[in-house]
């Protein structure tokens, strides 16, 4: 799309226009997220419109190597996250991965990530599918973030087991979601778009107790 534009400014305008008309799956909860967040304790926000690409390629195949050269590596086992810079690759299953990249990487905004992955795939055995609209992203940060998640996720989230830079596909609040620990006190949660409102309200409810002073 970028190369068809007459000038860089019009491409930028088009991208801005594209972004302005989009409505993210948890847009209606934006104010509630701001009101329910407690600075320094636990904060919740939506990161709308991240570019996501589903990859499938058998481990060790030439196709996988070509895809890995674009993304900066493919993770090898459950929990692993590969990638370089702001492009990350999450392990979903044997030979199945999810690329997470910034919003601008999408071709509707002038990015070329998906095109590059499709070129890398060529006619090899595998898949490159644009899944950007499939899931939305919640960011849960703060010292109580783990406590909030532990109310609805049965994994061992203690830092000695669940280290920063780990992403797993699991259940949170009885719905399937991908949980990615991006830092010591920050999590990214990827629910499917249709579960965004439910999970958003569930997380707000789970966060509410931390607004009150601790009962001794």
């Amino acid at each position: 799309m970028a190369e068809t534009a007459a000038s860089p400014t019009s491409a930028k305008n088009l991208a801005d226009k594209n972004l302005a008309v989009r409505v993210s799956p948890a847009k209606q909860l934006q104010d509630a997220f701001a009101a329910g967040s407690l600075a320094g304790t636990v904060e919740l926000s939506e990161l709308p419109f991240l570019t996501m690409v589903g990859l499938r390629a058998g481990a060790g195949t030439e196709t996988a190597q070509r895809l890995a050269s674009v993304t900066g590596g493919l993770p090898a086992r459950s929990g692993d996250v590969a990638g370089n810079g702001d492009t990350s690759v999450l392990w979903l299953g044997p030979g199945e991965f999810l690329v997470v990249a910034p919003t601008e990487a999408h071709e509707s905004l002038g990015g070329d990530l998906i095109r590059a992955l499709q070129d890398a795939l060529g006619d090899g055995e595998g898949q490159v599918v644009d899944l950007s609209a499939n899931r939305t992203t919640f960011e849960l940060t703060g010292p109580q973030g783990r406590a909030v998640l532990e109310k609805g996720c049965s994994l061992d989230l203690h830092p000695r087991e669940f280290k920063a830079g780990t992403a797993v596909s699991t259940e949170i609040a009885n719905i399937p979601a991908i949980l990615w620990k991006t830092g010591e006190e920050s999590f990214r949660i990827f629910p499917r778009a249709s579960f965004a409102e439910f999970l958003g309200r569930w997380l707000l409810d789970a966060m509410r107790e931390y607004a009150s002073p601790e009962v001794p």
């Binding site: 086992r77 459950s78 979903l92 299953g93 044997p94 199945e96 049965s154 994994l155 797993v168 596909s169 699991t170 259940e171 009885n174 399937p176």
Partner: protein, 136 residues
């Protein structure tokens, strides 16, 4: 709640999995030659043992892969987890539980190839893996 060790993802809650019924039910080699009784036996008749049972599970909210499991239907003790297409690990001692004679006859389509080799500690011969692979 069962805690199931997925071969790819490690121990996870039972709610992340879905049950796939009895394992090692081989698709008939010549389905056209079966009469209605035999076909219904293949489709609908399954073992219901009191004791060890081989069954299929899929980790549907995780890696989405199928695997086989040996589970005790009385104690819910998970005895083994092994990949699809591999023979049942405890076949050296088949049907130790008090399963009825009728159910073993119903299972003849599955165990027919394995029947000649029940001696000693050796597991089932490689010939059984071929029809199991065909079921997938």
């Amino acid at each position: 709640m069962l805690l199931i060790s997925c071969p790819n993802c490690g121990p996870r809650d039972e709610t992340e999995f879905h049950y796939g019924g009895q394992a090692h039910v081989a698709y008939p080699e010549n389905p056209n030659e079966l009469n209605d009784t035999e076909w219904s036996r293949y489709l609908f008749y399954r073992e219901n043992p009191k004791g060890t049972f081989a069954e299929r599970w899929v980790h549907s909210t995780g890696c989405r892969q199928w695997f086989n499991m040996l589970r005790d239907t009385v104690s819910y003790d998970i005895q083994a987890i092994y990949p699809m297409g591999t023979p049942r690990p405890d076949r050296a001692a088949p049907r130790t539980a008090e399963s009825g004679t009728a159910s073993t006859a119903a299972d003849s389509t599955t165990t027919g190839t394995a029947a000649p080799d029940i001696s000693g500690t050796s597991t089932t011969p490689a010939s059984t893996t071929a029809p199991e692979g065909a079921t997938k």
